[in-house]
């Protein structure tokens, strides 16, 4: 049975008379320990799917099941211990007035963990940051270090599912690889289930066993890593996306041939 099972998900943002139908009938299932990618251009609704799972976006139709249990509209405390999220921009996802220590110990306090000291230190160790980082403020950290703190924060409640919203798109190329390797290692160590959203096909190809391509809020195609690598897409849009991912020059050659 799938750990995360989403059926016919619809998300509609409404403000006054304006309505934006951001996600239209998206369905997918992720097995325990699997890493699932969602790819698409900006505005395709891929991040909104993640936010809908967390209850940060208004779900207007469909069901989300975790472990076979359908989620209620209000998330219960145990939900947050099962599912956590890493946000796209590490410069916006850390509170500017809170030290790393505060960021990491607050979730522990909320959920009543007792051995907070050791857990905070262990969490920093796990993401490759030493004790020296514990009492720093975000403005004393680099982008990559901030994202590591954000990952530590997501892991500190020991969730089973980690939702990754373009976790590396705001980072330098060299730091991207470091963070992706870190995420890969942690998944291996803890048997986590990932849902990774990205516009970068190479990131998804590196990280995920299966992926879904989205456009205009709808699922276009579901692929496996093998079919992505052999570039055997069935849909036009996916093929375009694959060509675009080659870069400008390569794409020109591809089209010429």
């Amino acid at each position: 049975m799938a750990l995360l099972d989403i059926k016919d998900l619809n998300v509609t943002f409404s403000k006054g008379a304006e309505r934006v139908h951001a996600v239209r009938g998206v369905s997918f299932a992720v097995a325990e320990g699997e890493s699932y990618g969602i790819v698409g251009e900006s505005g395709s609704g891929k991040s909104t799917v993640l936010r809908a799972i967390c209850g940060l976006a208004p779900v207007t139709g469909g069901t989300i099941r975790i472990d076979g249990q359908q989620l209620a509209d209000d998330r219960r405390p145990d939900f947050y211990r099962k599912v956590q999220m890493v946000f796209q921009d590490p410069y916006a996802s850390l509170h500017p007035r809170h030290t790393v220590d505060k960021v990491l110990s607050e979730p522990l306090a909320i959920h009543g963990f007792s051995d907070r000291e050791t857990r905070v230190e262990q969490a920093l160790e796990d993401v490759g940051l030493g004790k020296g980082f514990r009492f720093r403020y975000p403005h004393q950290l680099s982008g990559g270090q901030r994202q590591r703190v954000a990952i530590a924060r997501a892991l500190i409640l020991e969730p089973r599912i980690l939702l990754l919203d373009e976790p590396t798109s705001a980072l330098d190329a060299s730091i991207q690889a470091e963070v992706l390797n870190l995420l890969d290692r942690i998944r291996g160590e803890r048997g986590l289930t990932y849902v990774l959203v990205s516009h970068d096909l190479s990131v998804v190809a590196h990280m995920c066993e299966r992926l879904m391509v989205m456009q205009h809020g709808q699922a276009v195609e579901e692929m496996t890593r093998a079919s992505l690598q052999s570039r055997s897409a069935t849909q036009d849009y996916t093929r375009k996306l694959l060509i675009a991912s080659l870069g400008y020059r390569a794409a020109q050659e591809e089209q010429a041939s």
């Binding site: 940060l56 946000f87 509170h95 500017p96 959920h111 009492f135």
Partner: protein, 305 residues
């Protein structure tokens, strides 16, 4: 800076603090270093500290009793001299002593108004901004009602209803000064509410109370503190205005505004009676304004990364 201070300085400015206390103190020290660069702000801070010291040691500083009259035949309306630094008033009381003791009243008004109005403003503003919807509409319309009246007029109405006196003047000023803070806090909250770090803490299962008090308020606090400090001058002037109209401090209390009111009858012949407390009000107001400006430079979250 002396050699002995250097290790402490390094400890404070360390990039790798080893305890919560060191991180917090280091942050405060950095703010202080930035604040110290601003000469005018330091002058403002000096004036405010002087006000506090004068208020604490008023009994030692004042050479005469502020309330008991001197010899009414010989010591009335004496011009400034070494005996009476600021002269005497029509009751033969030493004006310098009264100004010194008046600093206590001024400080009390300012402190109490800040203590009462700031939390109300913060609470109303952050709650309205965070929850939005109906909560926001109701709270902000109430705020609008308070904002619709000119401050002094509303304070006058409250004092008239509550009865004259310095305590009622403080309550009236506090009731009339929270709405701008609520507005400010709400505006800040609206920009904070949808950020990723609030989404992140919500995902950790934090309650609304925890998010507002631990995450939203600290970010609103600095702009509200700046605003309160800049408003201090206005608060002092409102208190003085109420005193001037006879609705604030009651005679024989040495409140600066009431002293000006008493001296205005003979402003042309005995200028010092009204001028001296006027200078005191001017100086303290200026001090708070300079301090507020300096605080804005170092605390404004938009000014720093």
């Amino acid at each position: 800076m002396s050699v002995a201070d250097t290790p402490r300085r390094e400890w404070l400015l360390s990039d790798q603090p080893t305890s919560r206390r060191q991180a917090r103190l280091g942050q405060m020290y950095r703010t202080w270093l930035a604040f110290r660069q601003n000469k005018l702000a330091m002058i403002g801070l000096g004036i405010v500290l002087l006000l506090v010291l004068v208020a604490i040691f008023a009994d030692l500083i004042a050479p005469y009793d502020p309330l008991i009259s001197g010899d009414l035949r010989t010591a009335r309306l004496v011009p400034p001299s070494w005996d009476h630094l600021m002269g005497t008033d029509d009751q033969a009381r030493d004006i310098f002593s009264r100004v010194v003791h008046g600093s206590r009243l001024t400080l009390m008004v300012v402190a109490l108004v800040a203590i009462i109005a700031t939390p109300i403003g913060l609470l109303v503003g952050t709650t309205a901004g965070y929850f939005g919807g109906w909560t926001d509409t109701i709270l902000m319309r109430i705020t609008d009602i308070f904002l619709a009246f000119p401050r002094l007029i509303l304070a006058l109405a409250f004092v008239a209803a509550l009865g004259p006196g310095i305590e009622n003047a403080i309550i009236a000023i506090a009731i009339t000064s929270w709405p701008p803070y609520a507005r400010l806090a709400r505006a800040e909250t609206l920009t904070i509410r949808d950020t990723d770090y609030i989404a992140a803490i919500r995902l950790q299962g934090a309650s609304s109370l925890r998010i507002i008090s631990g995450h939203v308020v600290p970010l609103c606090l600095s702009s509200v503190i700046i605003r309160v400090t800049l408003d201090m001058a206005g608060i002092i002037l409102t208190a003085a205005g109420l005193g001037f109209l006879g609705l604030g401090a009651q005679p024989p209390q040495p409140e600066w505004g009431a002293m000006i009111a008493a001296g205005r009858r003979f402003l042309l012949d005995f200028w010092w009676v009204a001028t001296m407390p006027g200078i005191a009000i001017f100086t303290v107001s200026l001090g708070f304004n300079l301090l507020g400006d300096g605080l804005r430079d170092v605390l404004d979250p938009k000014g720093r990364g």
